[in-house]
């Protein structure tokens, strides 16, 4: 080993070396004093132990004092100097050694919390294979430019954010979204840096590289969230501003009254609210870090502490409990062929942007070609797939919000919508259609009526399949003692059928968007702490009204994250029970840490004032309590 490596080794392990030397000297000095009569030598060695162990502490204490902050290192330095002055060398060395050992262990354990997110970043590969200057080049991933095409082999990690332009594969997105199952990716699909290409080779056009990737953005957000003070932390911060000076005043007062120097020095040592200050941030940083690894982004300690009180979770139906992929399930014509009903409805709905309209128009385009007189076999000029039916444009159309559309085509009036719209237009429903509608709605389908020139010609039943995870998620929340509610604009019967299929406790049907907020407010007025789950874009107002807004599918859009208190990176419900129970565990963990800290200080104070606890013992218990709250908080990393 040359001099340089020794210096380097010392620099990297300074704290451990200092602590160990101080400990050895302390042990030596103590033995010498107790086993032999070399008292002067013993005192000398103990003072040396205090100086070696205390040099760094005193240096920081000096900075604390010059910066007019009052920290534990100042108190420890004062106590050690005081103990030497009154001839209690053993106490001085013990306090310094125990404090060094405690800080060394605290630093070591906190390192684990601080590197939890780092591991996520290491998911991104350092290099990328990119098409450049007519050949494939291996370049640092950070240097890939937007628009460049990156090639990822099967089994390789994706180095950039981008869009698949060639190839097909299953991609494990767990590092970004927390989804356990791989996601199928083909032309036009977005992929994220840090995810793993499992099957086929992919060519990816870069949309972001280096620090401009979804993963990096998430991690930056998560760190800001970890650093934001929770209400408990701010409370403790305000409290300690007065607490520490009060302890010093108490120590001086105690000396004036009792003339007992050891007693007042001990008060200084135990007076620092270490565990109280350190506990809550460790709990919150660990919980937010853990959540991030499962693709759940918590906005901050404040949100997390509030989420710990959730006792009711409201779900939006469409796109949240269901997949949001509505398809035509069945058509019933009355006096008119089924496909004629569909074609007319599609014409009326063609320009509407409602998701039911999209499903009807898509179904009309997919019809067998020979069946109708409304379409032609020629591919559409606007680029629709060859072989699909064209859907003629209406001459005019009006959207009636929350009800349907009224359109005109070839001199005929077409009305497509729900019962409310028929009532508005004075159209009667034949009993055969009414029976049909009841039957389909009982199966959880949404039915729209189609009327031509004032007479019902049929109805179209549409279905939006449940997410596979929905029943399990609802059951898990119920097991955790949380009420579940479904909010939907659908009619009563459809809502009842879906609610039963999911197993949800309650449902509220026929809600207009703004009604959802009113329903949430009513639950809050009943004393519930309400979480609302939605897509974060259409549901932004209800997410904001709820105590905790939970947005899904946030990896794709920043808007979803803005509106929410908690965001699920994956477009799935899977992690909601985990997020809710983690929040509850965190809230308890913070309370445990505060309780432990307060209890320790109370017992120590009582012990000191009754002279049962002296300097070294006080230090030992104090440091042990700090380590205990750190370790307790870190349990949340493995929740």
């Amino acid at each position: 080993m040359n001099k340089q490596t020794i210096t380097q080794y010392y620099r990297n392990n300074r704290k451990a070396i200092v602590t160990a030397s101080s400990g050895l000297l302390y042990g030596g000095g103590w033995s010498l004093g107790h086993l032999t009569s070399f008292d002067a030598a013993s005192a000398g060695i103990l003072i040396l132990a205090a100086i070696i162990g205390g040099y760094d502490i005193a240096k920081t204490a000096y900075y604390e004092v010059t910066n007019r902050t009052l920290g534990i290192k100042t108190l420890v330095t004062l106590a050690a100097i005081g103990a030497i002055v009154i001839g209690e060398y053993w106490e001085a060395a013990a306090v310094v050694f125990l404090f060094s050992l405690g800080s060394y262990l605290e630093g070591r354990t906190m390192r684990k919390t601080r590197t939890a997110l780092q591991e996520l970043l290491e998911m991104t590969p350092d290099t990328a294979t990119v098409h450049r200057d007519g050949e494939l080049q291996e370049v640092p991933a950070r240097d890939v430019e937007e628009g460049e095409v990156v090639v990822v082999k099967p089994g390789g990690k994706i180095p950039v954010d981008g869009t698949v332009i060639d190839g097909e594969s299953a991609v494990n997105q767990a590092p970004v979204t927390g989804e356990s199952a791989p996601v199928h990716k083909a032309d036009g699909d977005d992929v994220y840096a840090g995810t793993v290409n499992q099957e086929g080779a992919l060519e990816i056009q870069t949309t972001g590289a280096g620090s401009d990737t979804t993963l990096e953005r998430i991690i930056r957000r998560v760190e800001r969230a970890q650093e934001a003070q929770s209400p408990t932390e701010s409370l403790i911060d305000r409290f300690t501003k007065y607490y520490t000076p009060a302890v010093i005043v108490l120590a001086i007062g105690a000396y004036v009254v009792t003339q007992n120097a050891i007693l007042s020095l001990t008060l200084l040592v135990i007076g620092c609210p270490g565990a109280l200050v350190i506990g809550p941030p460790v709990s919150i940083v660990s919980a937010i870090g853990n959540a991030a690894r499962s693709g759940v982004l918590m906005k901050g300690g404040e949100h997390l502490e509030r989420a710990g009180k959730i006792d009711l979770v409201a779900f939006d139906k469409t796109g949240t409990l269901t997949k949001g992929e509505t398809t035509v399930a069945d058509i019933e014509g009355i006096g008119v062929a089924d496909d004629e009903v569909l074609s007319l409805a599609a014409t009326a709905e063609k320009k509407s942007e409602h998701h039911l309209a999209d499903a009807i128009v898509d179904a009309a385009r997919e019809q067998p070609t020979a069946a109708t007189d409304g379409g032609t076999t020629a591919p559409l000029a606007d680029g629709t797939d060859a072989g699909r039916q064209s859907v003629p444009d209406p001459d005019d159309f009006d959207v009636v919000a929350g009800k349907g559309v009224i359109a005109h085509a070839n001199g005929h009036e077409i009305v497509v919508g729900n019962r409310a719209l028929l009532a508005d237009c004075d159209i009667d429903v034949p009993s055969r259609i009414a029976d049909y509608v009841r039957e389909r709605e009982r199966h959880g389908e949404t039915v729209v009526y189609v009327a031509l020139d004032g007479d019902i010609i049929g109805a179209i039943a549409l279905r939006d399949g449940l997410r596979e995870s929905a029943p399990g998620v609802v059951a898990a929340l119920q097991n955790a003692g949380i009420e579940t509610v479904m909010l939907t604009g659908d009619n009563e019967r459809t809502a009842a059928a879906v609610a039963e299929e999911v197993g949800i406790d309650e449902y509220r049907a026929e809600l207009l968007p703004e009604d959802k907020q009113t329903v949430i407010e009513a639950y809050q007025a009943d004393g519930h702490v309400v979480a609302m789950v939605g897509d974060g874009i259409n549901d932004a107002p209800s997410l904001a009204t709820a105590d905790i807004g939970i947005a899904m599918g946030a990896a794709g859009t920043d808007t979803a994250i803005e509106a929410a208190d908690m965001a699920l990176m994956a477009d799935d419900l899977e992690h909601i029970p985990y997020a809710v129970t983690l929040s509850k565990a965190t809230r308890w963990n913070v309370l445990e840490n505060v309780g432990l800290a307060v209890l320790t200080v109370t017992i120590l104070l009582a012990g000191v004032l009754t002279s049962y606890v002296t300097l070294a013992a006080g230090m030992l218990v104090h440091e042990a309590s700090v380590l205990a709250v750190i370790l307790n908080g870190m349990r949340l990393l493995r929740y």
């Binding site: 920081t60 920290g71 630093g107 906190m110 970890q226 270490g274 350190i278 941030p281 940083v285």
Partner: protein, 81 residues
């Protein structure tokens, strides 16, 4: 349409470090004070729980090497991120 070019007289740079061995919350605040005393530093954020140090400084005045030294002088190990 021509886009007007805005020129700022002072361009502030931002740099980050990570300190994994903070052992008490007050230590983070002393490092924060020490860094804000370095020439040219405009703004400093030091977070105990995450160990993240963010420094905003005036490129013309500040010597970025001085940041790491200031952290080391307080007894902590800065890592570049």
């Amino acid at each position: 349409m021509a886009v007007p070019v805005l020129r700022r007289t002072v361009m502030n740079e931002t740099t980050q470090f990570r300190v994994l061995d903070f052992d008490c919350p007050t230590c983070a605040s002393t490092v924060e004070r020490a860094l804000s005393n370095v020439d040219g530093v405009q703004d400093v954020e030091v977070h105990y729980a995450t160990g993240r140090v963010e420094i905003e400084y005036d490129d013309d005045v500040a010597d970025p090497d001085a940041f790491a030294r200031a952290i080391e002088n307080q007894g902590y190990t800065p890592q570049a991120t």
